[in-house]
Subunit: 201 residues, 2 copies
Amino acid sequence: MASTFPLSFQVLIDKLVKFPGIGRRSAERIVHFILNKLSLEEIKSLSEAMVKLKESIRFCSVCHNISEDELCNVCKDTQRDKGIVCIVEEPKDVIAIEKTGIFRGVYHVLMGSLSPLDGRGPEDLSINELISRLNKNSISEIIIATDSDTEGETTALYLAQLLKPKGIKVTRIGMGIPLGSNIDYLDNGTIIKALEARRAI
Amino acid sequence: MASTFPLSFQVLIDKLVKFPGIGRRSAERIVHFILNKLSLEEIKSLSEAMVKLKESIRFCSVCHNISEDELCNVCKDTQRDKGIVCIVEEPKDVIAIEKTGIFRGVYHVLMGSLSPLDGRGPEDLSINELISRLNKNSISEIIIATDSDTEGETTALYLAQLLKPKGIKVTRIGMGIPLGSNIDYLDNGTIIKALEARRAI
């Protein structure tokens, strides 16, 4: 077994299996792909792209979204409504919401969620920055779009209690059955949320 | 949409989706992983591993398996029976068979399969090298382990006709139902092959 792969092959596989979604089989396929389909120039260009990513990406000074400049693409956009702030846990949540193309406000990225069990408290998130942002700007609505797991719900509750006394309209993104799903395949928690969130039609 | 990702993010995603088994979603996850979890040192070490792979891997001068030296790990191994040669299409087939740990012979990698439709004839495979290898060494058995698709079967048939007149024992790996499979889930072709390959018990 140990002698199956040449050393340089095995070294690369061991690095690739640490990536998300890449198992031992996919790592082998990728190594074969690099070996057979990529030129040395393409490998070098891929390496440069990774270094460039790491060196050029920082966090937006306003909302903590990933950015190549002082301000991210959303905060830079003069067409966006700076009065509506959508609070999310991670930069990838911004990307997910941006893909829908329907949200015209701006974001605030918490850089995580509250988790008393893991010892992550409010001071570990960008909550102080959020408060000073609210004090400086006129905000008409805050939409809390944290995940619907325990940590996300805890964070949403904490933020609602913190922000409501400031007289700002605070909303939570809707919970319910996802589009295109079969009721009988859904978990109990989702069905309960969906029943609670029922609306007159 | 176009402005969702910073440029360096998008550049890397576009490179990664060309890899086998990596779609747009996985590419995004990998880029987030590189950004958040890998240090610049780890990125450079990954890049070096890819270059090292490309620069150090060549083909074994005897069997065409991938190798870091003149001879591959299998051909180098004095414990292997050089009289039994297993013919496969690609270096990855060697790896698949080596993982079983039961084959003690050596290999010959064709570097492809015959495909008249795609214009791949015997001269595109390492068949001349195979013949001169047979002429130089004493071979007791040749096991043809090409794929069981049309090209693999065509290649097996061609090789059998070429090699049998030389008085060498030529066998084809067994065809039948894969281990642990349900008969009712199998395609007709496999069931027909399995019936043809039935043996007294």
